[in-house]
Symmetry: C2
Subunit: 186 residues, 2 copies
């Protein structure tokens, strides 16, 4: 990919994130993005068809990385943290979020975090899905895809609660909470 393309793409992503921290998704116009990114009108439309399209690609970009990293962790360590392997995937994800190497947290904290949470949960779903089947057999008589949804959903809701509360807990603490409400199910 051309270096110029990469730079403008990054400039647009950056401008968009910046704007999302200031105002709601719906009130952000393409013109706003163009002005903030300081690019030509034509250039924007050469990269993205619409604002929704931009949002979609940004999400894929961001969660592609975080899930890829978690995928490795899930292979080396286990899915859940226990005495033998304290480094669960969930803890890893939380640490990744807190480190904020990318600006995921800013987006998850913004007014319209719903959009990102949906993407986040979908990514999680495919991450956990593989690991889930070969895990320990569930104690409960509920459908396995219900359980999968319950796990991913709860995790995303926890992250949301974490952020909304000012992220005063450590990732390890949160991981303990999460295991506490999930472990009885296995």
């Amino acid at each position: 990919m051309d270096r110029r393309q990469r730079r403008t793409r990054e400039a647009i992503f950056s401008a968009f994130s910046q704007l999302l921290a200031q105002k709601s998704y719906n009130s952000i116009t393409v013109q706003d993005i163009i002005d903030t990114a300081d690019i030509g009108r034509t250039t924007f439309y050469a990269h993205f068809e619409t604002k929704d399209d931009l949002l979609k690609e940004l999400c894929e970009d961001l969660f592609g990385h975080i899930i890829g990293s978690a995928m490795d962790c899930a292979h080396t360590h286990g899915l859940y943290s226990d005495d033998s392997s304290p480094e669960s995937v969930f803890c890893h994800l939380l640490q990744h979020l807190q480190k904020n190497g990318s600006n995921i947290l800013g987006l998850l904290s913004c007014e319209n975090n719903d959009i990102f949470l949906r993407y986040f949960k979908n990514s999680l779903n495919s991450l956990i899905q593989n690991q889930f089947i070969k895990g320990r057999a569930p104690k409960l008589d509920v459908p396995s895809d219900f359980l999968l949804n319950h796990i991913c959903g709860s995790f995303v809701e926890m992250v949301l609660w974490w952020i909304k509360g000012g992220m005063i807990q450590t990732p390890e603490e949160l991981d303990r909470y999460f295991c506490a409400v999930l472990e009885p199910l296995f």
Copy 2:
């Protein structure tokens, strides 16, 4: 309130719901709503400031009813279903959703159900909050507001899963799933 006001307000709500079933929130224009509701441009702006405002009022209208009904149920019956009281608030909510007396289900099924789910969860939060404190003491060493969030979040995620799967389960069945994953926590 004037009967004319009520009628046009209802016409706008109806048109809006109808459009949401067809296309995404962002692609719906005020003009679309005006045309579908078959009202004057001036009339729309006399009722709602913006499209976002309309969305907000629609949510308050819908969830105000469903939560009000559940509030009664929570008083007469318990929060959770057990042998003594099989009619839990959760089961009641699910039945209410399935009955589809209002068009909540249509909105929760639409492309942008995220918006409604947020409102739904917030409403749930305040519903459960009161009942939660005087409930049984939790077995787990986790903050009570974390638990509250976990319950409400899980419920909403379950409803989402239910709808996405075509609602093939009965409310009673779902209620059993939900109790199965929550009961070990108490």
